[in-house]
Assembly symmetry: C2
Homo-oligomer: 230 residues x 2
Amino acid sequence: MAKHTHPDRLLLAVDCIIIGFLNGQLNLLVTRRDQEPRLGEWSLMGGLVVKGESIDAAAARVTHELTGLENVYLEQFQAFGDVGRTEEERTVSLAYYALVNQESATSQLSEHHDARWVSIRDVPALVFDHNKMVEAALVRLRYRATHEPVAFALLPKKFTLTQLQSLYEAIFDRPIDPGNFRRRLRKMDYLERQNEKDVTTSRKGSWYYTYNAEVYEEMKAAGEEFLLKP
Amino acid sequence: MAKHTHPDRLLLAVDCIIIGFLNGQLNLLVTRRDQEPRLGEWSLMGGLVVKGESIDAAAARVTHELTGLENVYLEQFQAFGDVGRTEEERTVSLAYYALVNQESATSQLSEHHDARWVSIRDVPALVFDHNKMVEAALVRLRYRATHEPVAFALLPKKFTLTQLQSLYEAIFDRPIDPGNFRRRLRKMDYLERQNEKDVTTSRKGSWYYTYNAEVYEEMKAAGEEFLLKP
DNA sequence: CCAAAAGTGTTTACATTACACCCATGC
DNA sequence: GCATGGGTGTAATGTAAACACTTTTGG
């Protein structure tokens, strides 16, 4: 691949679609651009891939810079490389989406950036092709959430099945039958019921559950599939 | 994204997993590298993204250079950007897979490259992380083929349902029941039976079909889903 | 008429849907 | 005791898998 005479070099960036979940809705973390062009406009959090840094590491760094969080769920889903996309310097951008626990992320929001959570259903105009990136991220998230248990990254460690249902309803943007939803969950041994109830939302209280990734890995290794259709 | 002081620049390439189908099996088009490092070793066809060229255009150009074909089905599916992946210069590569009609492609194979079709079940050791790319391409192809009618890109314009079944068996690497397969196809109005039979494979002869993309787009617009589970 | 591939039909098992119903408890 | 969200059960419908069956025609 490497031409040894005058190779064409360009800028390579990552942009992160950072997604949280609060009060029954999915939210997107956006910032104001801190440089030209488009200084001050709403934008995804991004950054250049620097020397000696893998692209996944760049995405983790960018997410960390804004949220303060480590070990965030990140998936690279598309490269955006149309010619005039960033207006000035030719930049190709690798888009990643991140699933974070919104409470933790909010409490650690870096004050160096002017950041804000917006509803995923009401994303403002973003710079460049960032709105397209958000759309593509949601498509990929919906696919991933049906085939793998990634949604738990958006919830606190302990959560109720009602919260989980509400999350899936937000991801797929449609109501889900509680009976059918729960029946499917009942088969998932990696959901572990705690001896503790959330009593803030109802008289009866609802059991807290935790997600056990090890158990899931075992089931996966045994060939069993995760599937939660919308 | 653009730092105006000393931005980090690196090489950006595309690598194409060019897939064909012949005699009941999927095949991969590989070439011998024509430059250092790893001169002469088996490799995917790749090339640098050049100035003023979109990444999709780069993939189309690279595919065209080797196969002579235009308007090839191409899907970008993953960026590979680990630090030492290309050994010398830091290169990030965008992987695309291409679905081509193997007969047409073979007849137009560029003589400037030392190219060869190999069975997808028996891919030789390729340079760098190219074997990983092939694996990832197959995963994506399998997903795409169940949800969208892309498989037709691998077949001639006219094909029999037996050929189509054989193609799906190759993609999913498992036998398919002819009865059930045909029943599902019967509902797909974008498969149009021609007044012509292929009489080379059986006494009875089997009808030729064509794929009508316009009809599919209409059905898609009407909210109907394509789904061909493996 | 028979072999061999093309193509059809039918039964069965299973999963999904829709919805009615019961449970627990603070007020 | 009743309103409220939590949680369960079940009959009906739809789909997919397995496989037996019919069709066609060159030799």
